[in-house]
């Protein structure tokens, strides 16, 4: 084999290897470029972050998403556990069909509505929706009137009833808070972009939760929604939720 022939094979091999390597890492790169934005750049309405939850894949005995969320965001009971007054950014809900007895469990959290009632009723603009669809509470503007909690159709918001000991994130006694869709992760160009609950679900191998950009037709979540559909809880209210559910029967 002449030297030229060897060079030709080498070039072909390198080109093919590059193509394979490129194809392998491209989804990750593309995902990261979709998620990441420079730290000094404001969020935009080019994205709408959302979540898809498959009720059939959610294991009834698993609570990892709840634990992961509350560890990630420093949501811990103040002194002793009191489910009625402790903050719950996410919770597992057990559903039993009255006719058939069929049992399912699903995680419930802020549904990040496109038309959020909590934002509508807030008198100080503390409850707000970011351009990318994430619904948040500005603790510095929240006066603790709890009207947003009255308006939320999902019991998704918590009032901080007492001083908390967790110092990882500032918690405002007397203010309202709820799931942020781990906005700090979304905004971190170098960090993991999935919310902590989704990562925990994947780590357990259940893969019941997908996070992504609902406006990107190529995103996994959009493809799944297009292929299998997804329903909104209390769709009758016309809130256009960012969190959708599959196989809720």
């Amino acid at each position: 084999m002449s030297q030229n022939k060897v060079d030709q094979y080498r070039r072909q091999f390198l080109a093919q290897a590059s193509a394979v390597a490129g194809l392998s890492i491209a989804p990750g790169v593309i995902l990261n470029t979709v998620h990441a934005k420079p730290a000094d750049q404001a969020v935009s309405n080019k994205n709408r972050w959302g979540m898809l939850i498959d009720a059939n894949k959610c294991a009834s005995n698993c609570n990892k998403c709840v634990t992961a969320c509350h560890v990630e965001n420093g949501v811990v009971p103040a002194k002793e556990i009191n489910h009625e007054t402790d903050a719950k950014w996410i919770r597992k809900v057990k559903l039993t069909d009255k006719q058939t007895g069929h049992v399912q469990t699903i995680p419930m959290m802020c549904q990040h509505c496109a038309n959020p009632p909590c934002v509508d009723v807030c008198p100080t603009n503390a409850s707000m929706k970011r351009e990318d669809g994430v619904v948040l509470v500005d603790k510095h503007a929240c006066i603790g009137c709890r009207y947003c909690m009255m308006a939320c159709p999902y019991n998704a918001r918590s009032f901080i009833h007492e001083e908390t000991t967790e110092k990882k994130y500032p918690r405002g006694q007397g203010t309202v808070e709820s799931c942020t869709l781990c906005a700090h992760r979304i905004d971190d160009p170098n960090g993991p972009n999935n919310p902590a609950c989704v990562d925990a679900c994947n780590a357990e191998g259940h893969k019941a939760m997908w996070f992504g950009d609902l406006k990107d037709p190529q995103s996994e979540i959009s493809k799944r929604l297009k292929q299998y559909g997804g329903e909104q809880i209390r769709s009758d209210l016309g809130l256009n939720t960012g969190v959708r559910y599959q196989n809720l029967t």
Binding site: H83, K98, P123, N125, G144, N155, F159, G174, T175
Partner: protein
């Protein structure tokens, strides 16, 4: 009719000081409760993440609704030309402002972070937030409606009390009348616009609150007027007492009509009939007791009898009827506000729903002493300000004797 002579009430007698001392003590207890709620957090109250509005809101909303109703006497005199009520107009205006102040005080002291109202930069609040909020937040509307009410009724009072401005009083009374209707409508819509909750989400709540306000406001008006005249030795004739009695009866009857329509409409929906409506009215719980015993029996049927049956002509009967209307009003707010939250929202029709936060289950609530004291302090603030106003302003006619208000009266 003679032009009434208005004078201040005396403020030096032991009885006056005793009354003010009692009111200050109740206000102090309420303030201490509010301070403790802010220090320890709302954990010391009976409120939870399911029952987010508790007893303070029962008192606050009752007072805010009653405030606009207390203005009715002035409106009837001025807008509807019933001159017999004219001497009572200044007291009616002052009471409407002090009742609103009492209600708002409770509402603000119950906030988780009332100081954030000051932290939010004023410019942002007034120039950025508020215009945006006007179109969205019913609370935002109410912020404007409450402050506007104080301002407009204040002007109306000024025009009424200062003789050279009397010619503007009629216009001011019209503006105030329209504004008070808007205010109570806005208060009703705080609940009416909560589309997610089955207990509310009804446009009829707005006019119902307006009619309820007529009865609640007049009851509080009678509870101030009659003792004020008795304790200061001023004459209060039967003509005015009997008119107030009949008026209260008519307002209570009108309120009953709306309550019946509201509840019957809720029974029309199968989901509501089996769910929230059955729970509130026939659940055998504190809400059904508050409805039947508090709101209907004590707060409606008994006052109707005391005001409309011929056998009850005494001032005592009117006082008791007014007290019962207040009890009925607080019961109604308890059923509407707390009962409405206690019943779970129907997120998953056809499913039994369970979770650690009590999704799908009836939420428990028992009022703490702090909440009750804070609520009562709202009534005390109302009365303290009213008595103080009567002491420094000339708003109470020296005599409301029959011969002074009714030219055709023959003794």
């Amino acid at each position: 009719m003679k032009t009434p002579r208005y004078t201040e009430i005396e403020g030096r007698s032991p009885r006056f000081f005793a009354l003010m001392a009692v009111l200050i003590a109740i206000i102090g207890a309420g303030l201490i409760s509010a301070l403790m709620m802010h220090g320890e957090g709302h954990i010391i109250t009976g409120m939870t993440n399911r029952i987010v509005w508790g007893t303070p809101h029962v008192f606050a909303v009752f007072l805010i609704v009653a405030a606009s109703g207390a203005l009715n006497i002035a409106s009837i005199a001025s807008v509807f030309g019933r001159t017999v009520y004219k001497p009572l107009a200044p007291l009616s205006m002052v009471l409407s402002m002090t009742i609103l102040a009492g209600g708002l005080a409770v509402l603000i002291l119950d906030l988780g972070r009332p100081e954030h109202l000051l932290d939010v930069p004023l410019t942002q609040f007034l120039y950025n937030s508020m215009p945006a909020r006007w179109t969205h937040s019913v609370f935002g509307w109410n912020f404007i409606l409450y402050t506007g009410f104080m301002f407009i009724v204040g002007i109306y009072l000024w025009f009424t009390l200062v003789k050279r401005h009397n010619k503007y009083a009629k216009t001011a009374s019209l503006v105030a009348f329209v504004w008070r209707l808007a205010l109570t409508t806005g208060t009703g819509l705080i609940f009416g616009f909560l589309v997610a909750r089955e207990a509310y989400d009804a446009a009829i709540l707005a006019p119902m609150f307006v009619v309820l306000s007529f009865a609640y406001g007049l009851a509080l008006f009678c509870l101030v007027l009659i003792p004020a005249y008795a304790w200061t030795g001023r004459e209060l004739g039967d003509v005015i007492v009997n008119r107030l009695r009949k008026l209260l009866g008519i307002f209570v009857a009108a309120a009953l009509y709306f309550v019946i329509i509201f509840n019957l409409t809720n029974f029309y929906s199968a989901a509501k009939a089996d769910g929230i409506q059955n729970f509130l009215l026939f659940g055998g719980n504190s809400y059904s007791q508050a409805f039947w015993i508090g709101q209907i029996l004590l707060g409606t049927l008994a006052p109707l009898a005391l005001t409309l049956l011929p056998g009850f002509k005494s001032r005592g009967a009117l006082i008791i009827a007014s007290l019962l209307v207040v009890i009925g009003g607080l019961s109604q707010m308890y059923v509407t506000i707390i009962g409405g939250q206690a019943f779970p929202m129907d997120m998953f029709p056809g499913k039994i729903v369970e979770s650690v936060i009590g999704d799908g289950a009836i939420a428990e609530y028992s009022a703490s002493l702090y909440e009750i004291l804070l609520g009562l302090s709202g009534i005390a603030i109302t009365l303290f300000l009213a008595v103080f106003a009567m002491n420094v302003l000339r708003i109470l006619p020296e005599s409301l004797a029959d011969k002074d208000i009714d030219p055709h009266h023959s003794a």
